[in-house]
């Protein structure tokens, strides 16, 4: 792929790392949150943490769509999957997320028809191919995957497919950021803003962070040079006493977002009054349901679901990890009772999850050398 190599160039990375060392104020400890799970994954994969001075700390945010799904919603999914005549479809990672009585993968082993798909369009294809079954799609994700679900539902309506429905768990990025900023647990100095969410919603919805909370935000790409440059841009803002939304990822993210995608989202979805996030609790206006116009495709209206709230397992500290209060290796069960093979918490499931990223790339050094 053209220009990917340049964004992984070691010499450029080293040069940015030394500029970062020069830009950070000596004696000041700077905590930056990368909101998006894709950034978390890149940071561990490329060892970006190790290039930063010890007083620049990256804190991992709530931006992995798998990690934020609470156990009760997984239980609802499993209940639907066990219904006679239902084909339950989901992205691969969701198969391994534990509910209170097992996973979708275990439900499949017990006889439920659970199938992995790469997109909602794949699920719709199954529905067209097998009209005698009810096909349910487990929709998860932020504003990056919500347009895909929305377009698939529009397509289902246009093509007259009636045996297809959507178990909607889409969430929006701004309300949890506000909740984190309001949380007394956490003191952050700036944000590495989500790259692909901003492709859809634009950078404008992030303007409340500098305006209301006085913290800089830099929307960032996912390659190592992108992330290092974004860290440098935030540190430069802090050093110069500026505080604004900047767009490092201009080659992909238009500041206004994708207006057609926003129109489709507004047509197909409506905001829920509140939605539960794993570890973060209920956050107002943070989740999407199908709009009244699309209620015929709403799996929660078409199927019996227990809809019971389930507390996270006591040993699991995903909540603190998602809020960036503790590092993954500080969790009591990290790498022992909780591993990617047998996860207890969601952060160990998806490769965007902070715990799985730490575990897979062996990055659990407790301290970095002072530079």
């Amino acid at each position: 792929m053209r220009f990917v190599d340049e964004f992984r160039d070691a010499a450029l990375g080293q040069a940015l790392a030394s500029e970062i060392r020069a830009a950070v104020e000596p004696g000041r400890h700077v905590k930056l949150m990368e909101v998006c799970g894709g950034h978390t994954h890149s940071i561990y994969k490329y060892g970006i943490d190790d290039l930063l001075p010890a007083n620049v700390e990256l804190v991992h945010g709530p931006g992995c769509p798998v990690c934020v799904i609470p156990m009760g919603r997984v239980d609802d999914a499993i209940a639907m999957a066990h219904e006679d005549g239902v084909i339950f479809t989901c992205f691969g990672d969701m198969m391994r997320v534990p509910g209170s009585h097992g996973t979708l993968q275990e439900a499949k082993a017990a006889g439920a028809d659970v199938r992995m798909v790469y997109s909602p369009l794949d699920a719709l294809r199954i529905a067209k191919r097998e009209p005698e079954h009810e096909v349910v799609f487990f929709a998860i994700g932020f504003e990056t995957t919500a347009p895909s679900t929305a377009l698939t539902l529009k397509r289902a309506r246009a093509e007259g497919v009636t045996n297809f429905s959507c178990f909607c768990n889409h969430v929006t990025i701004v309300p949890p950021l506000r909740a984190l900023l309001d949380s007394p647990d956490l003191r952050l100095d700036g944000f590495i803003g989500p790259g692909h969410v901003s492709t859809v919603v634009g950078a404008r919805p992030l303007e409340f962070i500098p305006a209301d909370y006085g913290k800089p935000v830099v929307v960032s790409g996912f390659e190592p040079v992108d992330i290092l440059q974004s860290v440098l841009m935030i540190l430069t803002q802090l050093r110069d006493g500026r505080c604004e939304v900047e767009n490092q990822y201009g080659r992909v993210v238009p500041y206004e977002g994708n207006l057609r995608a926003l129109e489709v989202l507004a047509e197909v979805f409506a905001l829920r009054p509140h939605f539960e996030w794993r570890g973060l609790g209920f956050i107002s206006q943070s989740g999407l349901r199908l709009s009244d116009d699309y209620a015929e495709f709403d799996a929660e209206l078409r199927h019996e679901v227990p809809a019971v709230r389930v507390a996270d397992p006591k040993a699991c500290q995903c909540g603190e990890v998602l809020k960036g209060v503790i590092k993954p290796w500080e969790c009591k069960v990290f790498g022992t009772a909780c591993t990617p093979e047998r996860p207890i918490g969601t952060c160990m499931v998806s490769s965007e999850g902070a715990c799985a990223a730490y575990y897979n790339y062996g990055r659990f050094a407790r301290e970095r050398e002072l530079v």
Binding site: M1, R2, F3, G37, G38, H41, S42, K45, Y46, C64, P65, V66, F91, G92, D93, M94, M116, Y118, S119, P120, L121, D122, I140, G141, F142, T144, T145, P147, S148, T149, L151, T152, R155, G195, H196, T199, V200, F222, E223, R251, V252, V253, P254, N258, R260, A261, V264, S350, S351, E352
Partner: protein, 73 residues
């Protein structure tokens, strides 16, 4: 669906994959696309039309969110 060296999540779908357009079905707003590893799939292009063979799209969960310029791809 995913390039072997992709730095993002493989299976949750919330993963931006650059894909090159091979053929466009303009009536159905679908395009046959190929990723870096040569994997092909059909992609929703309603949000980025007009697209043409040879364009590179950023695809999330089977839907193109934006057209990547030559510099980005």
């Amino acid at each position: 669906m995913n390039a072997p060296d992709s730095c993002h999540c493989i299976t949750c779908g919330d993963d931006g994959v650059p894909m090159r357009v091979l053929r466009v079905d303009a009536d159905r707003l679908l395009a046959l696309c190929e990723d870096e590893a040569g994997e092909r799939s059909s992609v929703e292009v309603a949000l980025v039309t007009p697209v043409a063979a040879g364009d590179t799209l950023l695809v999330h969960a089977g839907t193109a969110l934006t057209t990547l310029s030559g510099d980005a791809a």
